[in-house]
């Protein structure tokens, strides 16, 4: 009987070792340890044994059963592990493939620039206001102290609807609207569409965009204006950017200045892009609000002073994104829009 048991053990272990799948594992369990299994039948014959033999064989049979069970469970683990590996292997995918079902839309680069500029000024305490695209001659020119015979008023410069109504040529009339309706202190910016009689080419468009800023309070100085612009330029283009204030002339500010910014290509070293000057020219116009403009809006120039600035957003957008043709901004080619 001992021999039979040993044989069963050997056969069982050999069977288990030669297994190829999880299902046959169960068959083996049944074959040896099921109700009619080989080991079970041997144990059934225990009654025939002598009193002395019984505990010895019994212990041996138990050990063999444990060993077979141990083997079985190890085999089961092995098979599970193998199955997992097989599954993982089978589930191989090509991760270089990109699905294109979910698309996120794109913000127009001009609007993105406007928003960036506005947010910058909001963080500096400016409020955003809006003004109409169709304006009166009074707000667009007269109240801004533009001389009656100024060339910018010509039909060859400005789009007119009637003698008194036009398409605004700059965002500056928003200044007038703000000063007429709000009381100082005032700190506003306004961005929007502007129009001038320019034929379309790679740097001109009859419709373009400006951003205007205005601060009115007691004791506002040119030094404050310069600080504000300096902060703004550094935040927008980087801390290493310098600004240069050049005296200029605008009818609605006095003193007036144009602002040059370190050349975007060489950061001020001098390169072909900036004709060796190190400056990127005329990014922005600004000045102290003309006392006549203040008066026109019912603000006492003896008590209050202020500054205003304006800039072309299209140009800033083009510089920022490296766009070389303004027409791209208004053609709305989907392949262009999806780049931003």
């Amino acid at each position: 009987m001992k021999d039979r048991l040993s044989k069963i053990k050997e056969e069982a272990i050999a069977d288990i070792k030669s297994l190829s799948n999880l299902e046959s594992l169960e068959n083996i369990r049944i074959k040896y340890m099921g109700k009619k299994g080989e080991l079970t039948s041997v144990l059934r014959e225990m009654g025939k044994l002598t009193k002395e033999e019984r505990p010895v064989i019994g212990q041996m049979a138990n050990e063999i059963r444990q060993e077979i069970e141990q083997e079985l469970s190890e085999a089961r683990e092995r098979f599970k592990e193998k199955l997992k590996e097989e599954r993982i292997e089978k589930e191989k995918i090509d991760i270089t493939i990109t699905k294109k079902t979910r698309k996120l839309g794109h913000r127009h680069p001009l609007v993105a620039t406007i928003e960036e500029l506005e947010n910058l000024f909001i963080s500096m305490g400016f409020s955003v206001v809006e003004g109409p695209e169709i304006e009166t001659v009074e707000y667009n020119f007269d109240a801004l102290n533009s001389p009656e015979n100024h060339p910018s008023r010509d039909l060859s410069d400005t789009f007119y609807i009637t003698e008194d109504i036009l398409l605004r040529t700059h965002t500056s009339p928003v200044q007038i609207r703000a000063m007429k309706t709000m009381k100082p202190p005032l700190k506003i910016v306004s961005a929007g569409r502007t129009f001038r009689f320019d034929d379309v080419d790679d740097t001109h468009s009859p419709m373009f965009h400006q951003l205007e800023g205005l601060v009115i309070d007691e004791k506002v100085t040119m030094a404050n204006l310069m600080d504000t612009i300096d902060i703004f330029i550094k935040q927008l283009f980087g801390k290493d950017m310098k600004t240069r204030f050049r005296p200029h002339h605008f009818p609605f500010t006095e003193p007036s200045a144009e602002v040059d910014v370190s050349c975007f290509s060489c950061k001020g070293e001098g390169c072909p892009t900036c004709d060796g000057t190190g400056w990127s020219m005329e990014l922005l116009g600004c000045g102290m609000v003309h006392p006549k403009v203040l008066e026109n809006c019912g603000i006492d120039p003896e008590k209050y002073s202020g500054f205003a600035f304006g800039m072309g957003i299209d140009r800033i957008t083009m510089v920022k994104y490296g766009i070389n043709d303004i027409r791209l901004l208004f053609e709305n080619d989907n392949r262009f829009l999806e780049q931003f």
Partner: protein, 797 residues
């Protein structure tokens, strides 16, 4: 404006190089746009004299000339036709370098050797527009003898630089060499040296040449005249021609050149009339008669109106005042006596005339900016001095001057503390006075106030603030230490409408739509292209008086044509699918023509094509409005909008008012836009959306009790709308229907013709308790009955 540095230095001592000059001028307010070097890299080009001219035996058009260049005489073959023996000409020797990297080598022309090249002014680097007519064709023959062998760049003064300046319209006084010398002197704190004007010899009396001057005082503030006799019209001396050419002016003849020289020098335009050609010895400045004609020196007949000012000889116009002289009285080679006009005309009138005649000249552009009448005399005297100096004629004694309203300098009071308050500086009174005096503004301190006397040529200085700018710019804005703003802290805000539109933008982008920007003006033809009825209000558009062309001539009353344009463009570029939106204004006039500003309505348009249908478009609209918290929306079928497909279009109603339209574009319209795929467009009134949007979200407790799901499938007439079924389901829900979801619409097999099967999934839930099957059954049954009663729906088995 072109400023030759050499010329500038005649009036102000400068020891800085041109780069520094340019930088400093820029920082004090005269913006230097570029520096142009006169050095054109010319090498080995010298003065030579033609000694002998022979014909080339084997070539009709070539000459063989012997040229004496001082040390030797060389043989040169040339095709020139304007040479005579004894002419002094520029000779490019072998190894010479000319502008544009042209090098001269020894060559052979049909067997004859040539040891160099004779040069024209163009070959020496002059622009066509400044080369005198005399020298336009052929070799540059010099007007007098020069030492043979002298390098030509010395004679032509080809060294130093010209500065190109941007002069702002408020500073017409800077449009002259002396004006810029004054700025330069102020910038560098140097003395301004004005030319001393003195005429040595004067003969006879002007009264023998001119009897009277009469002017229209409104349009001509001053008329100053002098006469010159015994004139010999010829080419100006080379130095004078070079001065003009460097400043961008073409030399004509000695008299005209002098008037131009003085105009460049002082800024005052002068005009010379041939006195012998005047019918009467008088000058009458008057308004032209309507239809009056004059032939101007450019040989054009000009028809004038009463708004134009003319100079006449008492009978006929001899010049359009301040714009251009007449051909009949022009200075020609035969001229011997000249009347020199130095006048001051009304800037507005000149501007109008120049515009009317579409004729802009150096003179008109100066007069229209405003000239100082006190300059008339100095300029005329200076011209006489120069005429005498170059021996062009004899100056007649005396002048005639009509000057009614003598312009006097004004005095402006300046408060020093105001200067520092506005600039943010702490300049002393002495510093301020110094800056002002440098600009020739005479000051006197009167207690705490500086009285500043403004010269009459400074038309731009009228207020205290103007003087503060002068101090600021001479001090240098870049020298003002920057200071942060102080005062009440303000919180930056965006208007609510912008918050809503920004939010809408991000929702739309999240839904995969790209933002576009299109022009506010469109072509009126688009209304036909999108098939708008002739009597539609959409056609009440605002027209521009002066559009850039029909395509940009009216203010849009709808965004749909622009959207179609872009979709068409992209479609025709081969872009497979497009999902776009624009938020922009449409312009609604209250009446036409406009008497007041129109209403600008913020409007949203959404456009798409590709693998999409109406429901994709509607999903975008529903999602957008849903996320913006807009309730009470209704979608009503629209079959009368001619732009859209009559069976695939709906109007969007908010609180029973139409706020937009969405649908498939009509095939006729698509054809007009060359689009061969289905296009879906929605347009919504964004102002209403802003008004109705609720961005504040409130938390609703999550459901605690389980839901019961019931599906329902009914067969109805095929024109019954899903929306109507949903409405009935919700009406009967007794607050227990949490959600109704359509999951199938079917027509075809097993369903009778003219019928369709619609299946919903209904979610029942109570927020107070666990629902029992029995109570749901009752509600569900009532829903079925109501569907049967009202829509003749049959429950499917």
């Amino acid at each position: 404006m072109f400023l030759p540095v050499k010329w500038l230095k005649e009036y102000v001592n400068l020891d800085v190089d041109t780069k520094v000059l340019a930088d400093e001028l820029t920082l004090s307010g005269s913006h230097v746009e570029s520096i142009i070097s006169l050095d054109r890299g010319i090498k080995k080009v010298v003065v030579g004299r033609i000694e002998k001219i022979e014909k080339h035996e084997d070539a009709d058009k070539l000459l063989i000339v012997m040229v004496n260049i001082g040390e030797e005489t060389i043989q040169i073959v040339t095709g020139a036709t304007n040479l005579r023996v004894g002419d002094y000409v520029p000779v490019a020797l072998i190894g010479a370098k000319l502008p544009k990297d042209i090098y001269i080598e020894k060559t052979k022309f049909r067997g004859v050797e040539s040891y160099g090249m004779l040069c024209s002014l163009k070959e020496l680097g002059y622009e066509d527009n400044v080369i005198p007519k005399l020298h336009r064709d052929g070799i540059f023959v010099m007007e007098k003898e020069y030492p043979l062998g002298t390098p030509i760049d010395k004679i032509l003064g080809l060294h130093g630089e010209i500065i190109e300046l941007e002069i702002t319209p408020n500073r017409p006084d800077c449009l002259s060499i002396i004006g810029m010398a004054r700025e330069t002197a102020a910038t560098f704190d140097r003395e301004l040296k004005l030319p001393e004007i003195m005429i040595k010899d004067e003969v006879e009396d002007i009264k023998d040449y001119l009897e009277s001057i009469e002017v229209d005082g409104e349009l001509c503030n001053r008329y100053y005249a002098r006469a010159i006799k015994d004139i010999e019209i010829k080419e100006s001396p080379l130095w004078l021609q070079i001065y003009l050419m460097e400043a961008g002016v073409r030399p004509i003849n000695n008299i005209v050149d002098i008037t131009n020289f003085v105009m460049l020098e002082f800024g005052q335009p002068l005009h010379a009339f041939d006195l012998d050609k005047l019918k009467n010895k008088q000058i009458l400045v008057r308004r032209a008669k309507d239809e009056e004609k004059i032939r101007t020196i450019d040989d054009q007949e000009r028809i004038l109106t009463n708004e134009n000012l003319v100079i006449t000889d008492g009978e006929n116009p001899i010049a359009i005042a301040g714009v251009m002289g007449g051909m009949d009285s022009e200075v020609t080679e035969e001229t011997t006596t000249v009347l020199l006009e130095s006048a001051n005309f009304n800037s507005k009138s000149i501007r109008l005339t120049s515009k009317q005649l579409n004729l802009r000249t150096e003179a008109s552009s100066r007069f229209e900016k405003g000239m100082d009448p006190n300059l008339c005399k100095i300029a005329a005297e200076r011209a006489c001095q120069l005429i005498e100096q170059i021996g062009a004629g004899k100056v007649v004694k005396g002048h005639m001057d009509v000057y009614e309203n003598v312009r006097k300098g004004k005095t402006i009071q300046l408060r020093p503390e105001k200067v520092n308050n506005l600039l943010g500086t702490d300049l002393t009174v002495e510093e301020m006075i110094d800056y002002l005096e440098r600009l020739d503004l005479k000051t006197s301190l009167n207690g705490n106030i500086i009285d500043v006397k403004v010269p009459t040529y400074r038309l731009d200085l009228n207020l205290e603030a103007d003087l503060i700018e002068e101090i600021g710019r001479l001090h240098g804005f870049h020298n003002i230490p920057i200071q942060p703003l102080v005062g009440v802290l303000t919180r930056g805000e965006k208007p609510y409408s912008r918050i809503v539109s920004d939010k809408a933008s991000s929702i739309l982008q999240g839904l995969g739509l790209n933002e576009v920007i299109t022009y506010s003006f469109i072509s009126p033809k688009v209304y036909d292209k999108i098939k708008v009825e002739l009597d539609s209000k959409l056609r009440d558009y605002i027209k521009l008086i002066n559009p850039l062309g029909e395509d940009y001539s009216v203010m849009r009353t709808t965004l749909i044509p622009n959207m179609l344009d872009i979709l068409s463009r992209n479609y025709n570029y081969g872009v497979k699918e497009c999902f776009l939106y624009e938020i922009g204004n449409i312009f609604i006039p209250k009446e036409l023509p406009l008497n007041e500003l129109p209403k600008e309505e913020k409007t949203l348009s959404i456009g798409m094509y590709g693998n999409v249908d109406f429901y994709d478009l509607k999903e975008v609209v529903v999602t957008l409005l849903g996320r913006l918290g807009i309730k009470d929306l209704e979608y009503i079928k629209e079959d009368k909008n001619p732009t859209f497909h009559p069976n695939r279009t709906g109007n969007l109603l908010l609180k029973r008012e139409k706020i937009g339209v969405l649908g498939e574009i009509h095939m006729d319209v698509l054809e007009n836009y060359d689009i061969e795929t289905r296009v879906y467009i929605a347009q919504l009134n964004f102002d209403t959306i802003v008004k109705e949007a609720i961005l504040d979200k409130k938390y609703r407790p999550l459901p605690k009790y389980p839901a019961i799901l019931r599906d329902i499938a009914v067969v109805v007439d095929s024109n019954v709308l899903v929306g109507d079924l949903e409405k009935i389901i919700l009406e009967n829900g007794e607050g227990l229907v949490e959600k109704v979801e359509l999951f199938d619409v079917y027509e075809g097999k097993q369903i009778d013709e003219g019928k369709k099967s619609i299946a919903f999934s209904i979610v029942y839930r109570s927020f107070e308790r666990t629902l029992k099957d029995e109570e749901v059954n009752i509600v569900h049954q009532r829903i079925i009955e109501d569907l049967e009663n009202r829509l003749d729906a049959k429950l499917r088995g």
